[in-house]
């Protein structure tokens, strides 16, 4: 309670940061940086750790921050290095790295409360940046917890909390955070959303692609088959059929160019949809894609309509997004199981899809020649090739042998063991060798049905490759040579047939139904989080308003509801905060006695202000002899509890057991008073 002049050296001492606050803020910063540590340049992490460690070490020995010249030099050096590395400070990853670095250097120079405030603000912003990138539920919870911790650190800067334990400040900050929660929910639900970004930001740092790529060499898909990672989820619209297994082909990159080893996709210009006549049942569904850093959107064969505004269909029926998918997106689409081309194949396309590299896979070309001689018509030739796969000793395996220079030859004539990629590649080669336009299509096939939430999960292990051949009069026809070898692959999915090749863990999963169920349930929760929280948008707000029985919801009404919620929220907050200010209820004993006096007054025996309980009881029994005995007993008990031995004047002031005993006595007395119901008045008795 020392008096301090507000200016000068004494105030600076009061504003000086304690070791405790330094430790807390360093911990908060470390927890925040932990989220993005993988994306951060390693030297930034090391610099931050070193400067925090140095500062803490110094503070523990009572030293102040290092001199200004050192700090300034260090800052200039570090930020210069960072710029050299990123070439920009714009964008999420560079900005995050810069902020992390600044926070670390700030810790090094922390002297006063002001520095701590700067660091807390950086922590808040870094948490937000992490949430812009990641969308996991646990990340969100984790960052809220970090925010809580950071806010508690702010609380510990106040003098009264400085000496108290950390539990107290955590509890208090937690209470304030809990009070903020309802208001935050109202804001979030009804704050107007805009469809797209206000302005385009440079793309985020992580460019690691996942899933299928735009090239396929034998063995590529084998690698994917080991991965349990989710590629996308599909929910079929209510009222739409679910396609049978042999039609669940999710179309991805279409590959045209074969170099004898790998199939590639050379960029084909966005050609407007060639005329197709859609036939068969229509399937309406929503694909929820995970970020793949690729441009394509997986849709069911053959897409006719989609709701992604900027997406376009290429001439080979790939649905493409102009920018790589760095965020999860949802696309609603409609597909038809069968199509018929309206126009013949153009000469350019035909040339492209019958081209084979010169001098590669000679044995295959010779085989094609022989078969072609036997089957001059296209359907007959195709059937013959498929029959060859079926009748000869070809095996479908997840672990095919490695192949040498001419993989198609090696596969067809030597190893005869392959995965879907091998079959698709060999089949397309044989088709092209016979002059039939053919291309390889990669994508996903099958999927796992989640019966707990009615949707399909397509994992990387569902990746597949098949072929499309041009048949005169019909157009492109899907032919899956794998189905000729292992029809189960198409009917039931990969896991059932290659169990023997699969790793131990997935085999165990296969045999443990409850574990599979648990995974499905968790995945259902993930989808719920995604559909309800991550994809919450203007139309969700309008549906919400409909639930509130507000007719014709639109953006304006959403804003009005927001305003109403805020007024309500602030009123609630005011009430909530002031409620605790109420003069605290006196002890229960006193209240019970007052109730007794009120009841007696209502029957005409008011207590005089000067009257003690015993004197009052005596007078009451004089006025109302019928009430005498109970009133006497109650009043005597009251005075014993209040003034007798072991009485606690203020139950809250007494500690531990004494308070507990006092409380139970008071409760007993209070119950006795409640039971006491005098009737009639003095006049009527």
């Amino acid at each position: 309670m020392s008096a301090l002049p507000a200016s000068g050296a004494l105030t600076a001492a009061a504003e000086r940061v304690t070791f405790d606050s330094l430790l807390w803020i360093s911990a908060c910063l470390a927890l925040t940086l932990l989220v993005g540590i993988a994306a951060l340049p390693i030297w930034v992490t090391l610099t931050v750790a070193a400067s925090a460690g140095l500062r803490l070490f110094q503070a523990a020995r009572g030293h102040d921050a290092p001199p200004r010249s050192i700090r300034l030099g260090l800052a200039v050096l570090a930020i210069g290095l960072l710029f050299l590395q990123f070439r920009t400070f714009n964008g999420l990853s560079a900005g995050t790295a810069l902020l992390s670095l600044i926070a670390g250097l700030k810790i090094l120079e922390t002297r006063t409360r002001r520095d701590i405030y700067v660091i807390t603000m950086i922590i808040y912003f870094l948490s937000l940046a992490a949430l812009l990138e990641g969308e996991s539920f646990w990340l969100f919870i984790y960052l809220i917890a970090v925010c809580w911790l950071t806010t508690s650190t702010l609380l510990r800067l106040t003098s009264s909390a400085r000496n108290s334990d950390w539990r107290g400040s955590l509890r208090h900050a937690g209470r304030i955070l809990a009070q903020a929660l309802p208001l935050a929910v109202a804001f979030w639900l009804f704050f107007p959303r805009f469809g797209g970004p206000l302005w385009q930001m440079p793309d985020s740092g992580s460019n690691a692609t996942s899933g299928l790529s735009d090239s396929m060499s034998p063995g590529d898909i084998t690698n994917l088959a080991m991965s349990d990672e989710v590629a996308f989820r599909v929910r079929f619209k209510a009222g739409s059929d679910t396609p049978p297994p042999q039609e669940r082909y999710w179309r991805g990159p279409v590959l045209h160019d074969f170099d004898g080893h790998a199939w590639r996709r050379t960029e084909s210009a966005p050609v407007l949809t060639p005329g197709l006549r859609f036939q068969g049942p229509a399937y309406r569904y929503t694909v929820s894609l995970e970020p793949s850093q690729h441009n394509w959107i997986f849709v069911l064969d053959w897409p006719s309509r989609w709701d992604a505004e900027r997406a376009y269909l290429t001439s080979d029926y790939m649905l493409m997004e102009p920018n790589p998918l760095s965020q999860p997106i949802d696309v609603a689409a409609t597909s038809y199981s069968h199509v018929q081309a309206a126009q013949p194949l153009g000469p350019g396309m035909r040339r492209r899809d019958t081209r084979l590299p010169a001098g590669r896979n000679p044995r295959s070309l010779q085989l094609a020649q022989e078969l072609r001689n036997a089957h001059p018509d296209d359907p007959g030739y195709i059937d013959a090739v498929l029959a060859m796969f079926h009748s000869e000793a070809f095996f479908y395996t997840l672990t095919p042998p490695r192949l040498a220079a001419d993989p198609v030859d090696g596969f067809l004539f030597d190893t005869k063991r392959g995965f879907c990629g091998h079959y698709a590649s060999a089949f397309a080669t044989l088709m092209r060798a016979a002059g039939i336009p053919a291309r390889v299509v990669t994508g996903y096939q099958g999927g796992t049905y989640n019966r707990f939430a009615d949707y399909w999960i397509l994992r990387q292990s569902d990746a597949h490759a098949w072929d499309e051949v041009w048949m005169e009069g019909r157009g492109w026809v899907r032919i899956d040579p794998t189905a000729a070898i292992a029809p189960e692959r198409v009917e039931h999915g990969l896991n059932d047939i290659v169990t023997a090749d699969a790793p131990q863990f997935s085999r165990w999963q296969q045999r443990t139904p409850w574990f599979a169920d648990l995974r499905l349930r968790l995945d259902a929760l993930r989808l719920l989080w995604r559909e309800r929280i991550l994809r919450f948008d203007q139309s969700s707000q309008e549906r919400l308003l409909e639930l509130l029985h507000i007719p014709e919801p639109d953006g304006q009404k959403v804003a009005l509801v927001l305003a109403a919620c805020l007024i309500l929220g602030m009123t609630w907050l005011t009430w909530q905060v002031r409620r605790e200010l109420k003069i605290s209820p006196r002890d229960p004993l006193q209240r019970a006695y007052e109730r007794l006096c009120r009841r007696l007054r209502s029957v005409g025996c008011e207590r005089m202000p000067s009257e003690g309980p015993e004197a009052y009881a005596a007078r009451v029994s004089h006025l109302r002899p019928d009430l005498g005995a109970p009133v006497m007993a109650l009043c005597r008990e009251y005075s014993t509890l209040r003034y007798g031995a072991g009485a606690t004047v203020d139950a809250a002031a007494a500690g531990g057991a004494a308070a507990a005993a006092g409380a139970s006595d008071a409760k007993r007395f209070s119950a006795a008073v409640r039971r006491f119901r005098p009737r009639g008045s003095r006049g009527s008795s």
């Binding site: 309670m1 008096a3 301090l4 002049p5 507000a6 200016s7 009061a14 409360r113 002001r114 405030y117 603000m121 808040y124 948490s127 937000l128 949430l131 812009l132 990641g134 969308e135 990340l139 969100f140 809220i144 925010c147 806010t151 702010l154 609380l155 800067l157 106040t158 003098s159 009264s160 909390a161 208090h172 304030i176 955070l177 009070q179 903020a180 929660l181 208001l183 935050a184 804001f187 979030w188 704050f191 959303r193 805009f194 469809g195 797209g196 970004p197 206000l198 930001m201 929280i533 994809r535 919450f536 602030m570 907050l573 905060v577 002031r578 605790e580 200010l581 109420k582 605290s584 809250a652």
Partner: protein, 327 residues
């Protein structure tokens, strides 16, 4: 910028003074008199929050928005908590305090908290820019527990003799997170009577007189036991008749007779050749000496005469008369 701030604050204080008038102590801080503004950290946070929300909207990130809105709500709740930290607090003060020139005047502010919540980090601020002491702002930081009370002492250095009057003081808080600053003015004047610094070398007039006449029983007065009289408040403990009390009798006091019982006049006129302030210093020292020697004394300065007596109240009256001189 600072000038604008100062001017705005001055306008606010005068406006608030006009608005509330003079407060009677004890005063309960009500809703209407609490002002609240964001601190510079609060303003920085607001800018940060706007940036966070724009980022959340731009990236179309619902989680980012959720986090941003949580922070916005947190700030709003913190504002309420800051405001509440002062609300319904009962403020009392010792409105007149004594001090000596060159020393500190200790203004005591008593804060009573009837509510069931702790009031943390309350800053009592006194702005002495217009006062007669050394200028500046003087503060004390107190926390009041739930249903408790606490007093804060603001020590204000007073350089010169006289009456220092403070028209108002301020109660300020930045609790809980330092994003907001709530404050209230207590428009109740506090007065410090700054007595002269005790000084001068002259002995008490009676002592010099006694030395001059006879060396008989000069200080024996206290030892001349004259009997018991009834206890009255304010009697020195060493004069209590403890044995009587121990026997179960009424509290009694031993009374003495002696020359010390003769009133001593501390007279301005006795210090003829000295300058005014020197006379006042000497008189101040005499008052303190007489009081500590349990003498009965009176004070005579131009314009004021205080009848002989003794005790804390009398001493204070004499010192205040010295502080007030010449008015």
């Amino acid at each position: 910028m600072n000038g604008v701030r100062q001017a705005a604050l001055k306008r606010l204080t005068t406006w608030s003074a006009r608005r509330h008038g003079r407060d009677a102590l004890p005063m309960i801080v009500n809703r209407r008199r609490i002002y609240i503004i964001p601190t510079r950290f609060g303003i920085a946070l607001a800018l940060l929050l706007v940036a966070m929300l724009i980022a959340g909207l731009n990236y179309n990130s619902n989680l980012g928005l959720a986090f941003g809105f949580l922070m916005v709500s947190l700030a709003l709740v913190a504002m309420h908590h800051c405001h509440r930290n002062l609300l319904n607090l009962s403020v009392d003060a010792i409105v007149e305090v004594d001090a000596f020139a060159g020393d500190h005047a200790s203004f005591e502010i008593l804060l009573r908290n009837e509510a069931g919540i702790d009031r943390c980090d309350l800053e009592i601020r006194m702005d002495l820019a217009e006062g007669r002491g050394a200028g500046g702002v003087f503060t004390a930081l107190v926390s009041v527990a739930a249903r408790g009370y606490q007093h804060g002492t603001v020590s204000v250095p007073v350089a010169r003799r006289g009456v220092t009057r403070l028209e108002r003081f301020e109660l300020r808080t930045r609790y809980p997170f330092g994003w907001f600053r709530a404050w209230t003015y207590v428009q109740s004047p506090l007065t410090a009577f700054v007595a002269p610094r005790p000084g001068g070398e002259r002995a008490l007039p009676s002592a010099s007189a006694a030395l001059g006449t006879a060396a008989q029983s000069e200080i024996r007065g206290d030892e001349d036991f004259a009997g018991l009289r009834a206890y009255e408040a304010g009697v020195p403990l060493k004069h209590m008749a403890w044995k009587v009390l121990a026997r179960g009798g009424e509290p009694a006091v031993r009374s003495y007779t002696g020359p010390a019982a003769e009133p001593e006049w501390l007279d301005w006129a006795m210090l003829h050749p000295l300058r005014d302030e020197a006379r006042l210093s000497q008189l101040c020292r005499w008052v303190l000496l007489s009081e500590s020697a349990q003498r009965t004394y009176g004070l005579r300065i131009p314009g004021t005469e205080i009848a002989p007596s003794r005790g804390a109240g009398h001493r204070s009256a004499c010192l205040r008369a010295l502080a007030r001189y010449p008015s």
